[in-house]
């Protein structure tokens, strides 16, 4: 049903090459997240799949058939935009019904589907309001409602949660995840937030400068990042990188160790340093440790770890949790 395949897709705006060449397979029913820093081409890639931009070369296959030149409305995809892109002069009901109206669907059937979508998104009480009278989260749900009534082959989400406040974002994340469980439709989701990527995805595609750095399940990326970029991007707080002597002793150009894989002690250990800033989050404490040999390392301690600014501290990396990278930044086995 909703398999999408990109073959050597590339995109240039004039002289500027945004996406050099991308091959990607999305299988039916998968939740794929494109993640990367801003300007990495992830939104452009989504818009290429949607058909809102024309590819400069390559093929896009949706559901097995070549859709490279198909106009967006004929691709059977629904998209949720960052700004929600609701129609401000229409009521919520008419907003959700709009794609059905454009498809020329029978009015009663359309209303039945709108009511069903509204019920599943808790929007029934708001059907006669205008988008301007709704809160951010409600607008977001209307945008999702407008996307699901069409029963598309796949959903495209373009940073849908970035305009919401933190608490609401967590809620909507869950709702989107549940929606995917219910509908079992392919979803492609663009975000720059690695937490969203880790929590939502079946498969994460890490993009950097228009190139795919790595494709894999959240835990694969966490356990075995293919290169320095992915290692630094996935995981929060980000991985510590150590070069020079410490790395060479492990036979690598650079070694990485995640903050949660450091054992801390106030008496003895492999690396000695002084505590800089300690961020107490309650459940965890993140310590920024200035090593005596130079360099700063972030370490995760439990919430009650008894140190403060300036205390001496010893860090011992867990031996089997090292990530080793060569001079080009690629992972060593």
């Amino acid at each position: 049903m909703g398999a999408i395949s990109l073959q050597q897709v590339n995109k240039a705006f004039g002289e500027t090459v945004v996406i050099p060449s991308i091959d990607l397979e999305v299988t039916d029913g998968e939740f794929v997240v494109f993640v990367g820093p801003s300007g990495c081409g992830k939104s452009t890639l989504l818009r290429l799949i949607a058909g809102l931009e024309d590819v400069s070369g390559g093929t896009i296959k949706i559901d097995g058939s070549d859709a490279t030149l198909t106009p967006p409305s004929k691709r059977g995809l629904s998209m949720v935009f960052q700004s929600y892109a609701l129609y401000p002069h229409m009521s919520v009901r008419r907003n959700i019904a709009f794609p059905l109206k454009m498809a020329g669907l029978d009015k009663d059937e359309a209303m039945r589907r709108v009511d069903a979508a509204a019920a599943s998104l808790n929007l029934t009480d708001y059907l006669d309001r205008r988008p301007g009278q709704l809160s951010g989260g409600q607008r977001q749900r209307v945008a999702i409602g407008r996307a699901i009534v069409r029963e598309p082959t796949a959903f495209l989400f373009d940073e849908p949660l970035s305009n919401l406040d933190a608490a609401l974002r967590v809620n909507m994340r869950l709702e989107i995840s549940e929606l995917h469980q219910q509908l079992k439709t392919t979803m492609i989701y663009v975000t720059h937030d690695q937490v969203e990527a880790m929590t939502l995805a079946d498969k994460i595609v890490v993009l950097n400068a228009g190139r795919i750095e790595q494709v894999g399940s959240p835990l694969e990326l966490y356990r075995e990042p293919a290169n320095l970029f992915v290692a630094g991007f996935i995981g929060s707080p980000r991985m510590n990188f150590v070069s020079a002597a410490a790395a060479e002793s492990h036979g690598a150009h650079t070694v990485g160790i995640r903050p949660e894989h450091l054992d801390l002690s106030t008496t003895a250990g492999e690396w000695q340093g002084k505590v800089g800033v300690a961020e107490h989050l309650g459940s965890d404490t993140f310590l920024h440790v200035h090593l005596d040999g130079g360099g700063t390392i972030t370490a995760r301690a439990d919430g009650e770890f008894p140190v403060s600014h300036g205390s001496a501290i010893w860090l011992t990396p867990q031996a089997d949790k090292f990530h080793r990278f060569d001079a080009d930044g690629n992972r060593l086995p």
Partner: protein, 290 residues
């Protein structure tokens, strides 16, 4: 404006402006109303006398009065239709990314900077003139009889001239409104399966409603008092074919030297303008609410 003190100071500060504006408006209005009750003829100065409503009686029963009302409304509605439709179409066209967009926009706006008398004279003598005009030349070059625009279709010609002048204004306002339309909305509707026509009907047109209302209201104010274009082209003729209310007032007071009658006409014009304004606000004013 938080404290009592600053509020009092603010009132004091704006008083001169308010007084000036009130005087500016009320004194001429009062004088016009006063003159409209006088027998006041410039050919017999110093013989002004009170005549009550006689001026109104003569003005309203003047055979050209109803012609003037009809002409005024024809002119306003005709020009509005052309400028609003033309403005929307031109704005849509100018919003497209084209080569030389900046120059094209300046060219479209240019007519607005030409004085009404000048543009009307140019239209009259260089385009519409049945002997020397460009249109006559074009007609003759394909073997047709030249058409005497201002003689045969005077009202249509004036509507054409005035529309040409005001089209840039409508285009400008509608173009800015168009540029404020969220492109994601258009893309969303495209993904929702709306073709170009449906996108215009359901997304663009509602977005332009407010700007269109502004254009209609402002244009109506100016079009009710069109004068220069008529004066330099048809002089209100042939007969009363292009005499609008403004021109009729001019005929009364400055061609027949009847200031009293002219003032009565002026008061009637004010009342008519207010009727039109109320009617318009009822009809489309709700578009202005946010």
């Amino acid at each position: 404006m938080a404290t009592l003190h600053s509020r009092a100071a603010a009132r004091l500060m704006i008083t001169p402006a308010v007084v000036l504006l009130l005087g500016w408006m009320l004194i001429p209005l009062g004088m016009t109303v006063y003159f409209s009750f006088l027998r006041f003829n410039l050919l017999a100065p110093g013989t002004e006398s009170w005549t009550g409503l006689t001026n109104y009686y003569f003005f309203l029963t003047d055979p050209s009065f109803w012609d003037a009302i009809r002409n005024t409304l024809t002119l306003v509605i005709g020009v509005l239709l052309i400028t609003v439709t033309g403005g929307v179409l031109l704005a849509l066209l100018l919003d497209q990314p084209i080569w030389g967009q900046g120059v094209a926009r300046v060219l479209v706006i240019a007519p607005f900077f030409v004085m009404p008398t000048v543009s009307a004279l140019i239209w009259k003598n260089m385009f519409m003139n049945p002997v020397n005009g460009l249109f006559a030349f074009l007609a003759k070059s394909v073997g047709l009889q030249p058409f005497d625009f201002l003689g045969q279709a005077p009202m249509a010609s004036i509507i054409l001239i005035v529309s040409w002048q005001w089209l840039p204004f409508a285009t400008l306002i509608l173009l800015t409104a168009l540029q404020s339309l969220d492109t994601e909305q258009l893309e969303a509707s495209e993904m929702d399966g709306a073709g170009p026509l449906n996108r215009f009907i359901y997304i663009v047109a509602p977005h332009l409603a407010r700007a269109t209302t502004v254009v209609i209201l402002i244009l109506t104010i100016f079009l009710l008092s069109i004068f220069a274009e008529i004066l330099v082209t048809t002089n209100g003729g042939p007969g009363t074919a292009t005499t609008n209310l403004t021109y009729l007032v001019y005929t009364q007071s400055l061609l027949q030297f009847d200031v009293g009658g002219g003032s009565a006409g002026g008061v009637v014009a004010i009342i008519l303008a207010n009727i039109v304004a109320i009617f318009l606000m009822r009809m489309i004013g709700k578009n202005l609410d946010a």
